[in-house]
Amino acid sequence: MEEQNKSDWNLILPILILVSFLFVILRMNPDSIGFDIRFSSFLIVAVPLAVFPAILIIGQICKGKDLWKHQLKEGGIVALTALAITLALTIWLIVEFFAHHAHFGEPEEIFDWITFDLLVEGNALSESALSFGIWIDSVSLTVLFVATFLCFLICWFAIGYMTTDPINEDRNHRFFAEFLLFSMGMFGMVLADSFLWLFIFWEIMGLCSYLLIGFYWEKPSAAAAAKKAFLTTRVGDVFLMVGLFMLYDLYHSLEFAVIFGDPTLGGAVHGADLQWPLFFMFIGCVGKSAQFPLHVWLPDAMEGPTPVSALIHAATMVNAGLYLVARMFPLFSEHHFEGDLSDLAMLIAWVGGITACMAAFIAFVANDIKRVLAYSTMSQLAYIFTGLGAACWFANNGHHHLATIAFGAALFHLFNHAMAKGMLFMASGSVIHEMHHAHDHVHLYDDDDHHDFDPQDMRNMGGLASKLPVTSIAMMLGSMSIIGIPLIGGFWSKEGIIGQAWNVYLHGGEMILFPALLVLATAGMTGFYMSRMWFMTFAGKAKTEAAQHVHEDTPWIKTPLVTLSFVTAFGGILLAMYGFQHFLGENPDSAHLSSHGLLYTLEHAFLPAETTLKLVGWTAILLSAGLGPFIAARMHGGRLDDGEVATPMVSWLVDLSGRAGHTDVGELAEGGFAQALHNRLYIDDFYEYLIAKTIIPLAKISAWIDKNWVDGVIKGIESRSQSTSAWLRQFTTGRASDYLLMATVGMLAIIGILWGVV
């Protein structure tokens, strides 16, 4: 173990030194090498784009060679280096951003992609171009930091997770190449300066999501899950494309600078015109961020390797939908459109509220540790949607100050959730990995079928707190952040979202009452299902033999967990203290953080001025930090096996759960509602039924047309020419005299024609 950890650092240290060296050079002398913001942002996209084919090709050539496999971890180290460079560049960008205390002015155009002439009114041609450029403001920088930071850490984790499993041998280069391509898509989408490029990178991410969910393509369930994810998001993307067409029709451009520069286009565009394009684009967001009713793909997407779940399906790609809604935000706050778009804002909040509650309910009964996290992801993303809906409503109804607060809270939650959920997925990956190894170890000499054992099933775990100390601490902190335990991570943003949703109600948006109630109730439900997951996994007695023999000794896995534990534990409160929400919300006029002091921040969070908000906030705290975990502890908690000692940081929690007593909910757990939850509220079945009734008959009809009409024509041509050639072939006897006869006849015919006989 000691040696393994050492080798892990031996490899990492040169990279870190190299990158920090690069970083220092850039900081010292940014001008001398023509290294500007534009170029460095461009590099963030270009480096992964350039490296991913190299990994793929070299991996294919050097498969199995010692240097490639053991020193470079089948390309993992190469990918990690590329991601370290992007992370360093991002940090440099952020430092520059704050150093100038302002946004970077006009978007930086890098090159024209397609130039074309556009037919405008009066039959005149106007030259137009689709260009690629960089757009940087506080929102894109925040999401970019989340993306580069998590890509780097999860790649680190993936090296430990993927290369120690024999099933992945000799194909990890494919994983790392796709991982890098995905990172490129995410960075590009965040930095793009037009909706067009945003859409292109959006689709690159969709492709990588498909490829990585289906990484174990030989498993039928993984292949089906990949197709399901791809097709479901495709439904949303078609709508997004239609929305973009409509937007282009209005503005004759998709560039942010044009659209946000003058949203009315000199009075030519009205708020009512924007309703449908934005609505269609929102459906695209719903698909990408797995919200009701296009949420069905996300739980199945957990078939992919765990690092993929952590990165794509929890921390980054699913945030793309939120990012797009955040990008639409300036249109809501345009005062000429006031009141025209508040229905859409309400819709965003409603979709969020419904998804939050529904996903939390389904998470109640999920036994697969990754599925619990998947539903939790859906639920937390829904919170952010609710917050964005509230922000859009405020902005569209003239409450600009409140809008910035809600907007900041929503994006702050995006940050907190990405950090916590990325870590939770990595921790779950650690648990699964060690369970798997322990099971293989215990049953090494058995003849039993090993595949019966599901290392992801929480019913096989229990009592792991003493065996996986780092993982249990990380998982506890991550769960606390997601639940919203006061002072930790997600608490700061979640309180803001719930509070602002209720604030909309207080300011006359009666329609939001339903989603506002739902998100309030979901706070308690989150407390229950996240605690349930933790208690089932780490507290109580070990439920299987494998769970008794788990050890935490895979290299590469601990470092990202520890790093993110610190971010989750202290990041939230630090950023809240420095007014991170305002920094995000007041985009792009201000770019500085200033500390308001801890007391002010605490008072702001726990004792807001309005009585209703105070009530709502305390209800949320009581539900999420008190009631939910308490019930979970009564149902699933318990002391460890005798002789097992958990680390001090989590032992208090295990002891508390042991003291909580025990409740048996056998009857409730087998009731009709629980059954419905086990079947995911029958939504997947309903879609399957719908597809079987509509799409499949349609597919059969078009298959028939294809077979009989389209193919018929081709086959007819083919069979006719065959019969013609068969008829012609009989003249080819091979006898010289026959050919001579034909030549004679032909010559006579020519003579006849020349003489005019025939």
Partner: protein, 100 residues
């Protein structure tokens, strides 16, 4: 002096006999003989033309044609010998390599 048209007619008649022979006969040697008949029918026309127009060109052509015909027969018979030694027959019905 015989009318040149009669001689031309005789030449055409001989040519047709040769042509029909080439089309119908199977034996390679008979076919070669028929080709010689056709060649001589043409030679006849040359000679007759030369006499009629009192021009020496026709005779020159004829003598060259006879020489070439002799060479051709020599080559042709050599081919038939090779064919016979390979296939044991010189029937043209059996030799349909052009088909393939």
């Amino acid at each position: 002096m015989i009318e040149p048209s009669w001689i031309a007619g005789l030449g055409a008649f001989l040519f047709c006999i040769g042509l029909v022979g080439v089309f119908t006969r199977k034996n390679a040697i008979i076919v070669l003989m028929c080709i010689e008949i056709m060649l001589n029918a043409v030679n006849l026309n040359f000679v007759a033309g030369a006499a009629h127009y009192e021009n020496i060109d026709g005779w020159v052509y004829t003598s060259i044609a006879i020489a070439i015909a002799a060479a051709e027969v020599a080559v042709g018979l050599a081919i038939f010998l090779a064919l016979y030694s390979q296939r044991g027959t010189i029937s043209l019905d059996e030799v349909t390599l052009l088909k393939h």
